[in-house]
Every structure is written in structure tokens, then in C-alpha cells.
């Protein structure tokens, strides 16, 4: 899949930008969400995820750039697009003085494509699906955060959807609820629904998504299949040898930047890191395999070269960066909320 036909995309953005005054919340992102995928939209708090989602759903007008949802331009075709999209945006929002089922009936009545005749049945089914049947008649004001979150997901499931946009769907859920939501998303994806999930938790994305995109400070820093994202990034060679300087020379001939650190018992730990094809994924939607420049030389070739030069190899390993390291490398570490 080197060319992405627009018909295969559930969501496509081109240079999508949102400015609030002088501040750029979303900076020219080109997102490509294939149909049928479970797409993780990853980024720290304040990286522009929710603003992007709001633009996809027509709540916020882009400053520039375009959005296509289910093949149609938004916001121009919102009335046709939105009935096919279920969404949870920035947490649930309900009338605290109405019961859970009354809230869903209220929101469902706003959709002219949702038949009134089946409303009660569809609301009950959606509540059942998120395990809230027992609390259907209770006022939402008395719901816990997790229950509200489930109700929000139920709201997105009132009619069968082609696309679900779930902004932080497991927020406030207990581990059991988180597992149920993951299971639900998988079931929906199996039924052919494209699911677009945003999260600041990598583990969550890793467990349920087929694709992912990473946002940082309003920009899109990577996107692709989860496997692509895993492959890309820093790989590191760790070599245990007493011949540190010689090893560094051999490695640099192979094009590897390396450094030596003294280890106890007169040995040296030489580490070399190599960036594998970062360019291929960064900013290039769904780049096919095989276009990555500078692949890591085969480990056995490195060892052979070292041994041929007389380096005493006492330990050798290649460490692939985990997705988490990659995520942190892309988005920065610590509590600095992106400006």
C-alpha cells in the first residue's frame, strides 16, 4: 500500500491547522486513517489531539487546511457525515438531572437519521453494551466518573456507525472497565467499524490499535502501522570487549557512531546507536516497507567484522528501542505540558 487512495481513508487531513490568537494549537497535520483500522492518536496532554478531533467533527473551524471524514469534506458535508460517526469528545457531557437512559434518548432525538420508533430499544441496547443497564434509571448526577464515561461510549453506539472517534475512552475507568472498553473496541473493529482512539497512554494504544499517530506540540511527528513505528527508531548495539578503541574504529568504518565506557574487570562497554529510517515514518503517512534509508547492518556482519579485526568480542547484543522509548523521544519527557 504505497499509494493511499482517498477512498480507503476514514479520516484524512491535509495541512490542518488551528490557531487560537497567536497560539498554534494544531500545526499543519496530515493525518491518514485507513478504513477498518483501529487508529491510536497518541500525544501528551495539550499536544493538540482534542482540537484536531473537534475539527474533524465540525465543532471547531480550521484556520487552514482540509479535513475529509468518510470521504467527504468537513465541515461542508457534516449533515451527511455525522450520522455515520459516533464520538466521545473530551469526556462525557450529560444532563445531571436526567437519568442515564433519558440522557441518551435526548441526544438520540437530535439525530434526524435516528428513527424515533426504535429509540427506546436502541438506548437499552447501547446501555446493555457498556454494562450500564442496572443504572439506566438513575440520575446521571449520581453516576461515578467511570459510569459517565461508559454512558458516553453508549451514546456513540446508539446507531451503527462507520467511524467511531473516542477521545480518551478509558479515562476514569477502573482496570476492569478499561479491559471491557478494549474488548468493545475490538468487537466493533471486527464488525468493520473504523475506530479512532486518542490517548496519552502508550500502553493502551499498543494493546488495541493497528495504526498510530503521534502528536507533539501541535504537530504530527509520526504515523503508520504499529509495526512500522516499532521498527523505526533507535537501535542500539552493546558490545562487551577489552579492546575498546579498536572496536570503535571498526564500528565507525561500518557507519556506526559509538562510544566506549570503562567497565569493571578491565573490559569496555562499547555502545553504538543508529537511527533506523526515522524519516520514513515521520510525517510520511503510511510509507510502505523498504523505503527506509540506512538499515542497520546485520548483527552477524558486525560481529564478523569485529572479529576479523581482532576485537575480542565477549558480549554482543542489539537492542531495539521499545515503542515507549520512541514515544518519549518523539514527545519529550517529564511534566512539561506542551505550549
Amino acid at each position: 500500500m504505497t499509494t493511499t487512495d482517498e477512498r480507503d481513508l476514514a479520516i484524512e487531513t491535509m495541512g490542518l491547522t488551528k490557531r487560537f490568537g497567536s497560539q498554534i494549537a494544531v500545526n499543519a497535520i496530515d493525518l491518514a486513517v485507513p478504513r477498518g483500522s483501529v487508529f491510536g492518536f497518541l500525544g501528551p496532554n495539550g499536544s493538540g489531539k482534542t482540537t484536531s478531533i473537534r475539527m474533524m467533527l465540525g465543532l471547531v473551524a480550521p484556520s487552514s487546511g482540509q479535513v475529509r471524514v468518510l470521504g467527504r469534506a468537513v465541515p461542508r458535508h457534516l449533515p451527511e457525515v455525522l450520522p455515520r460517526v459516533g464520538a466521545l469528545v473530551e469526556g462525557p457531557g450529560f444532563y445531571p438531572f436526567l437519568s442515564g437512559s433519558a440522557n441518551l434518548r435526548r441526544l438520540d432525538s437530535a439525530d434526524r437519521g435516528a428513527p424515533s420508533a426504535t429509540r427506546r430499544g436502541r438506548v437499552d441496547a447501547a446501555l446493555d453494551r457498556v454494562g450500564l443497564s442496572h443504572a439506566a434509571g438513575k440520575k446521571v448526577g449520581a453516576y461515578s466518573l467511570g459510569m459517565k464515561q461508559r454512558l458516553g461510549i453508549a451514546n456513540a453506539l446508539l446507531v451503527p456507525r462507520d467511524l467511531l472517534v473516542l477521545d480518551e475512552p478509558t479515562n476514569g475507568l477502573d482496570p476492569q472497565g478499561t479491559r471491557e472498553v478494549r474488548h468493545l473496541i475490538r468487537t466493533l473493529a471486527d464488525g468493520g467499524t473504523t475506530v479512532f482512539v486518542s490517548s496519552h497512554l502508550l500502553a493502551e494504544i499498543e494493546q488495541m490499535c493497528t495504526h498510530a499517530a503521534v502528536m507533539s506540540v501541535g504537530g504530527l511527528v509520526a504515523q503508520g502501522t504499529l509495526d512500522d513505528l516499532r521498527k523505526v527508531g533507535e537501535a542500539r548495539i552493546c558490545l562487551l570487549t577489552p579492546d575498546g578503541d579498536l572496536a570503535i574504529r571498526v564500528l565507525s568504518r561500518l557507519g556506526l557512531e559509538s562510544s566506549a565506557a570503562p567497565e569493571p574487570d578491565a573490559e569496555c562497554l562499547v555502545t553504538a546507536s543508529v537511527s533506523v529510517g526515522a524519516d520514513a515514518v515521520t510525517g510520511a503517512p503510511l510509507a510502505g516497507p523498504g523505503v527506509r534509508p540506512g538499515p542497520l547492518p546485520a548483527p552477524e556482519a558486525i560481529v564478523a567484522a569485529l572479529v576479523a579485526e581482532g576485537v575480542r568480542v565477549r558480549g554482543f547484543s542489539v537492542q531495539q528501542a521499545s515503542l515507549e522509548e520512541r514515544f518519549v523521544a518523539l514527545t519529550g519527557e517529564g511534566f512539561d505540558i506542551a505550549q
Partner: protein, 302 residues
Amino acid sequence: MPSDVVPRDVVSSDAMPSDAPHTTGAAEPRREPGAALLRSELWVLFRRRRTWALLLALAAIPIMIAVAIRLSSSPSPGRGPAFLDQVSQNGLFVGVTALIVAIPLFLPLTIGVVAGDTIAGEASHGTLRYLLIAPAGRVRLLVVKYIGAAAFCLAAALTVVIAGTVIGALLFPVGPVTLLSGTTIGVGEALARFLAIAGYVTISLLGLSAIGLFISTITDVPVGAMAATISLAVAAQIVGVLPQLEWLHPWLFSQHWLGFVDLLRDPVSWASFGDNALLQAGYIVVFGAFAYARFLTKDILS
């Protein structure tokens, strides 16, 4: 969690003809006429405890007036609001008296609460974004919200008139009503005229409701919109009594608020009814347009 409970009556779109646009005939959902949202709006409005509290407060005005007159031994003719001295002779006047008392402040106060809450209230609950992505449609939502506020105006006016008539009939003698022009009409016709007065008061409040709707689109804080709307109602009446600003008086939405007494003349003088309706219609058009322009381009960040 059981799955597959939701009937898949909307065809999913995995198989799309390659050259056709993305909505095939089968995938395009059948549109309902859209009355469901209005029904839901009225249902939610009149199911809220707050709405009932407002209506009860309004009903308390004629009740308080009637009880106070019943308890006081000596009526004091010529003092207090118009018709007050007639109440002890004819209980039917309680409703009209109560309207005269309520219209400068209490009625605008309740209207301000409901109209100011229309959009800002949804924004503060976080339901505005969900209504819009349902999708309700921004124009449709605005219209439905305004109709809801107008329905409350009617309910508020009827509450005062009906509560007044009922408490008046309970505490005082009821008989033919002597009109302002001196003629007398039967109880049946008097009741019909009171209903017409409730209609007049409802129309009187529509302009203020439109202002409230507009203010409600510019903020996400409902209390702010409510306070601003109520303040405007008070300000308009203050301007209305300043002779220096007489040139402005014909344009004030509160100008004809007390004109409903013209409906108690024989023959009925419809001039103020017409003037009032025209003025309120003007306010609806102008502030409806402001609300439309504001809400259609608004970034929903709530």
C-alpha cells in the same frame, strides 16, 4: 458485555462503488421530520425542577396578593397596583393584578433564567458538543431552543393568570366583570379575555427571549447570560421612565409591556397588541440574526 444487540439497520460502508460518492442510496439514512428534538427540548425543559420552581414562584404572586387582601379588613382604594381595590369585589381580577405586579421584574427574571440558559446551559453541561455531533444542526438547535424559551414564556404567563383566577375564585366572590370602559361582561367572556392577556404577555416577552438567546451564544457561563438578560430587562424599563430619552422609548422591548389592559376595554383596543407584536417581531429578527451569525461560526470549545 453482550454484543451484536444493536440492529444494523444502517448499511455499513465497507463495499463502496469505486466511482460513486460515498453515500449510496442505501447508506443515506432516512430523515425524520425533526420534531423529536423539539419534543425532547420541551420535555427536558418542563421536567426540570428548576422550571417548576420558577413557575411556582410566579404562581405565588397572585396567591400572595389574594391572601393579603383577604386578610386585610379595610381595602384601601386608589393605592397599590391597578385593579387591586376591585379584587375583594370580584376574585377574577387577581390574575390581572398579579400580571401587573409581575411584569416589570418577576416575569423578566424567570424568562432571563430560561432564555439565558438556552445555549450556555448546554455548553456548561458539555451536552452542546454532543447535540451538535449527533448531529442536531446548529440552525435547528437554535430554533428549537428559541421555541423552548417561547413555550416557557407562555407557560409563565398562563401560570400567573390561571393561579390568579383559581385563587381569586376560591377566596372572593366571582361575578360579571366591569371593564375599563364601564361596560360589563359575563364570566365566560372575562376568562376568554384573560387568556388573550396571557397571550399578549407571552408575546411581550418574546423579544427579551431573543436577546437572552443571543447572549447565551456568546458565553459558556449560563449564570452570566441570565444575569445579563435580566439586567437588560431592568435597564430597558429604567430608560423607559426617563423623559430625557423619550426618542428611544418606541424602540424599547418593554415599551408595551403594560399595554395588555387595553384588552379590558369595550370594544377591545387592538392597537397596542399590534404595536407590541410588531416591535417584538423586530427584536426576534434582529437578535435572532445576531444569534445565528454568532452561533454558526462559533468554535465549540466547551
